[in-house]
């Protein structure tokens, strides 16, 4: 039964993905992309990675899909194609041959990976209890590979600054994103009802991440989506770019993380070393501002640069 399930799932993903690449219309292709993401979330559950399934649902298919669909809608076929970018027939054949070769080689290699599989699961399971955390993925992100997570949070901040830098000069200082008039009807209703529920669920997922699937990236994405929903209905407005409040919310997470890291260097002799026995409270203290920064960052990335001056 499970094999049939896996085959059906993998087959469906492949068909939708192929269609996404081949579709004629960019907007339609975005629908295909979202469907792929949704099915991929199921695939991640089947692969025993519920944390990743959550992330894929929240970020890959969820806010990522919305971002691409909005882009497709706003471009409305206005993209001009650089003639140098259009593949000539012989090039197209070459590309197809190359990609087929890569896929075949990759498939062969993946099916022949060593047995028993090497990996870090035993090491992680052994190192888990002293951290006080129950979820090995969160432990990986917050203790032994905390550096990656810290730099990741910085990358989100950099992306926001980068996206803002693409504003027209005249619009600098304005509020991020296009202008939205207040909505009426069903959208206005949903934008009032859903965000409070989403807030609870998002925070629950951040909190649950210590011991089960979840964490700040996934929960933060949900919080960001809820805020954007309220924004779409014209209920909330982002502060102008560069405003103190907004920048503080963006910087708080990585800044606190950095300070904890440097405190580890000063006190325990190693950057990001957490005090023995207190690692869980310290991790939670990092995660709170980090969630705020990630949610703010993701929401601002989804909105894009300011389109007009304040």
């Amino acid at each position: 039964m499970t094999l049939a399930l896996d085959l059906l799932l993998a087959g469906a993903i492949l068909v939708v993905a192929a269609w996404t690449v081949a579709a004629r219309d960019g907007f339609a292709a975005c629908f295909g992309f979202v469907a792929t993401g949704l099915l991929l979330a199921l695939a991640w559950v089947r692969l025993g990675s519920v944390d990743v399934a959550l992330t894929e649902a929240a970020i890959g298919a969820g806010i990522g899909g919305v971002l691409l669909l909005n882009a497709a809608a706003r471009l409305r076929g206005q993209e001009t194609v650089d003639p140098g970018d259009v593949a000539r027939p012989w090039q197209a054949r070459g590309i197809a041959a190359l990609c087929t070769a890569v896929a075949v080689a990759l498939a062969a290699v993946l099916l022949a990976l060593p047995v028993p599989a090497p990996g870090l699961a035993p090491a992680a399971a052994a190192a888990l209890p002293p951290t006080g955390l129950g979820n090995p993925v969160t432990a990986t992100l917050m203790t032994w590979r905390a550096l990656d997570t810290l730099l990741e949070a910085v990358v989100v901040l950099l992306a926001v600054i980068g996206v803002w830098s693409l504003a027209p000069d005249a619009a600098w200082g304005g509020r991020p994103g296009p202008q939205v008039p207040p909505a009426e009807g069903p959208l206005a209703l949903l934008a009032r009802v859903l965000p409070p529920i989403g807030l609870v669920i998002g925070l629950h997922i951040v909190w649950a991440g210590a011991d089960g699937p979840g964490g700040k990236f996934q929960g933060g994405a949900i919080l960001a989506a809820m805020w954007v929903l309220a924004w779409m209905a014209g209920l909330v407005r982002p502060p102008p770019v560069g405003s103190r409040r907004l920048v503080l919310a963006l910087v708080a997470g990585p800044a606190v993380f950095l300070m904890v890291g440097l405190a580890g260097l000063a006190l325990a002799g190693s950057f990001l070393a957490l005090p023995a026995g207190f690692s869980k409270p310290v991790i939670l203290a990092i995660e709170a501002p980090l969630t705020l920064s990630i949610a703010t960052g993701l929401a601002l990335l989804l909105l894009g640069p300011p389109a007009r001056a304040a």
Partner: protein
């Protein structure tokens, strides 16, 4: 057990790479790049699942890598979309 997903991952990488190289429209390239990314993440997923041991359903390190990678991919996509809209978007839709 992981074989269907291993084959799927390889196919997604091939498909995505093809889209990135063969498409001329930037938005389609971006979509294809995201599919390529999904394929690569799925390779990590297969690796993680194969590495299940010591009572863990999957090796947590590749899982953490994918979570980080998904966030990076989203951020990169927003940057590309902002560039695209600035280049080709004209005015944002006025409702």
């Amino acid at each position: 057990m992981t074989a269907p997903y291993a084959l799927l991952a390889a196919a997604l990488v091939g498909l995505g790479l093809h889209g990135v190289l063969a498409h001329a429209e930037p938005l389609r390239r971006l979509l294809a790049f995201n599919l390529l990314g999904s394929g690569v993440f799925l390779v990590f997923g297969v690796v993680a699942r194969r590495g299940a041991a010591a009572g863990l359903e999957a090796d947590p390190v590749p899982q953490a890598i994918v979570i980080t990678g998904l966030v990076v991919a989203f951020a990169a996509t927003t940057l590309a979309v902002a560039l695209l809209l600035r280049l080709h978007g004209g005015d944002p839709p006025q409702d």
